[in-house]
Amino acid sequence: MKTTFNTQTIELNPSNDGYVATLDGKNIFIKIIRAENGKMELLIDDQRVVAYVSSDLAKRWVTIDGETIMLTKTSGAKQGVRHDHAGGLIAPMPGQVRSVNVKSGDDVKKGQTLLTMEAMKMEIKIQALMDGKIKSVLAAQGDTVEREQILIEMEN
């Protein structure tokens, strides 16, 4: 996936055990050691990097080694991820569907886990955002899905 910050374009793709970034024609290998609350501990080409990143619409605040910079995302995927695409639940990132817990016509409660997927060695639960009925299930166990692909459609 290609993204441009200020004037620099970076392509980032998941690889076997992490990510490959392509920047200025060079490939850089990244592993995520830990990531929470806006703090990431990374191995970038085997160099340990601690990065703090916050987002506000197109703005990105990045602090590495005490130096803070503000970047503006000028192109790439849409800002943020739509939780709800005309009643549809979408994949937050590329990955594989591990389990589908509901079928078409099921009544579900807000917060109920409808589907789990795996991406970047993490388990992601796709939960109902409201009480309602499952209109259709568009993914099956084992499917490889793309970022923003619709997984489940719901109706009130």
């Binding site: 993204t3 910050f5 200020n6 620099q8 970076i10 980032l12 990510y19 970034a21 920047l23 200025d24 850089i28 990244i30 995520i32 830990r34 990531a35 929470e36 806006g38 990431m40 990374l42 970038i44 990097v49 990065a51 703090y52 990143v53 916050s54 987002s55 506000d56 619409l57 990105r60 605040w61 990045v62 602090t63 590495i64 080694d65 005490g66 130096e67 803070t68 910079i69 503000m70 970047l71 995302k73 790439g76 800002q79 943020g80 991820v81 939780h83 639940l89 937050p92 807000k110 917060g111 970047m120 060695k121 993490m122 388990e123 992601i124 639960k125 796709i126 939960q127 109902a128 955002l129």
Partner: protein
């Protein structure tokens, strides 16, 4: 001792004072404006009282509302903090008239030191060295004559002034008339009083101030100096104690002069005598007295071990100050950096917004007095001070190193801060050598010796991290509060690592 204290202030200083109250077993009342309804000082207090509109004159500067708040909450004392009404003699009088205790000096002391020209005359009488100059002049002819006698360069400044407003440096006679007009205009706008005084301009002057402290029983001592010469737009950003410019003899002399100055106005409670120090001649002159607790008081607390905020309260309640001058010594070295939401690359203009990230450093010898936390909004209504970062170490060199690391670990996103700027100042050889005068920041900025740009060329690591974060923290792309408003968002669960 008091049962309940109302803190007529906001931000970090309100929290600092509330801490002292709590440690002394005293209940606390916070006051707040519309903009501060959810702020940290409100959450920290035992109770909170809404004053009104966000504009300071409808809230933190409104004497009637504050007195009424204290009565309604059955508070028995008011602590003014710094800024706002802390040096307003009418406020101190109003507090007294309402049969409440003002935690600070008497209204008379505040009044006597509040007027620059008046206080200078008082100090001359008391035998405190003052900058050669004249007060009470009116015609331009008189100013011109005075300037010649003093010798250029001279400084014209507002009698009622402070904070660098209504102040002009005049290098030669041809500039004098225009400078007087400009200073008068500014003085009238800022203080409603166009009277000016004229004095010798001390080039490369350092700002060195002495903390004094006294009780209502006539005991008064000093607590050594703070070097506060790193200033931008006449406001301090880095303070330290001790100053590397002072010898033990000079320190004693300045301490004695400060005590003399404070005694001349029958001072009690915490106060600060500001001196301008001429490093060329090792001479010092009285500048003004701040009749309140200073922003930079933690520096003194760390090197002397005294809790100034607690003692302010105890003194106000009538306790005797049990220490004498010889009980105190400066031990080690303390430095304070004021973390401001401001943009050094844009004339230090305040920066507003929501704090997307706010992580304070933690390590031995580090103190953080903060008024904000992650998720808080920094508004344009008030001073953009986010926090004070203070370090303590055995000597100056170690303290500087400690500060450099502490600044690295202070993460603020959402508003531009001066953190990178202070790193550059600390790393500069002029800072290491104690050669920073009060004009240093402005001079260096003008000559572009230090340039700062938040939009500077980005490194590969920064770009990679930003791109990666879009994958990893998908949930944060709208706002930091999304988790709270939508507890069932699937994106919230994204960090559940399996290994």
């Amino acid at each position: 001792m008091f049962n309940k204290i109302l803190i007529a202030n906001r931000g970090e200083i309100a929290i600092r004072i509330m801490r002292a109250c709590k440690e002394l077993g005293i209940k606390t009342v916070a006051v707040y404006s519309d903009a501060d309804a959810n702020s940290q000082h409100v959450q920290f207090a035992d109770e909170a009282f809404h004053l009104g509109d966000s504009a300071p004159k409808e809230s933190y500067l409104n004497i009637d509302k504050l007195i009424s708040a204290a009565m309604q909450t059955k508070s028995d004392a008011i602590h003014p903090g710094y800024g706002f009404l802390s040096e307003n003699a009418s406020f101190a009088s109003a507090v007294d008239s309402a049969h409440l205790t003002f935690i600070g000096p008497s209204a008379d002391s505040i009044r006597a030191m509040g007027d620059k020209a008046q206080s200078k005359i008082l100090m001359k009488k008391a035998g405190v060295p003052t900058v050669p100059g004249f007060e009470g002049l009116e015609s331009e002819k008189d100013f011109s004559k005075a300037a010649k006698e003093i010798g250029y360069p001279v400084l014209v400044k507002a009698s009622a002034g402070g904070g660098g407003k209504g102040m002009r440096v005049v290098n030669e006679e041809s500039e004098l008339s225009e400078a007087i007009q400009a200073a008068k205009r500014e003085a009238l706008n800022s203080f409603g009083d166009e009277r000016l005084l004229i004095e010798k301009y001390i080039a490369n002057g350092h700002h060195i101030e002495i903390q004094v402290f006294g009780d209502k029983h006539g005991n008064l001592i000093h607590l050594f100096e703070r070097e506060c010469s790193v200033q931008r737009r006449h406001q301090k950003i880095i303070e330290e104690s001790p100053s590397i410019l002072l010898t033990p003899e000079l320190r004693n002399k300045m301490g004695e002069a400060a005590v003399k100055a404070a005694k001349a106005v029958n001072y009690f409670n915490a106060g600060t005598i500001e001196f301008i120090f001429d490093p060329q001649h090792s001479t010092f002159y009285f500048l003004e007295m701040n009749t309140r607790l200073q922003v930079e008081h933690p520096v003194t607390e760390l090197v002397t071990g005294i809790d100034l905020a607690q003692w302010q309260i105890r003194i106000a309640a009538g306790e005797k100050f049990p220490f004498t001058q010889t009980d105190f010594m400066q031990r080690g070295h303390a430095i304070e950096c004021r973390i401001y939401a401001e943009d050094p690359s844009n004339g230090f203009l305040p920066s507003t917004g929501k704090l997307l990230q706010f992580i304070e450093p933690h390590a031995p010898g580090i103190r953080v007095d903060a008024g904000f936390a992650k998720g808080d909004e920094v508004t344009h209504f008030y001073d953009p001070l986010l926090a004070k970062l203070i370090v303590y170490a055995e000597n100056r060199q170690s303290a500087i190193q400690k500060m450099q690391h502490a600044l690295k670990d202070f993460i603020v996103h959402g508003v531009v801060t001066n953190i990178d700027y202070m790193q550059a100042v600390l790393a500069h050889e002029d800072f290491a050598n104690g050669k920073i005068s009060t004009r240093w920041v402005d001079t260096i900025m003008e000559s572009n010796g230090l340039s700062f740009d938040m939009h500077k060329q980005s490194s590969a690591l920064q770009i990679i991290s930003a791109a990666l974060a879009d994958f990893v923290f998908v949930n944060q792309s709208q706002s930091v509060n999304q988790n709270e408003t939508d507890p069932f968002s699937p994106w919230k669960k994204i960090n559940n690592f399996r290994n």
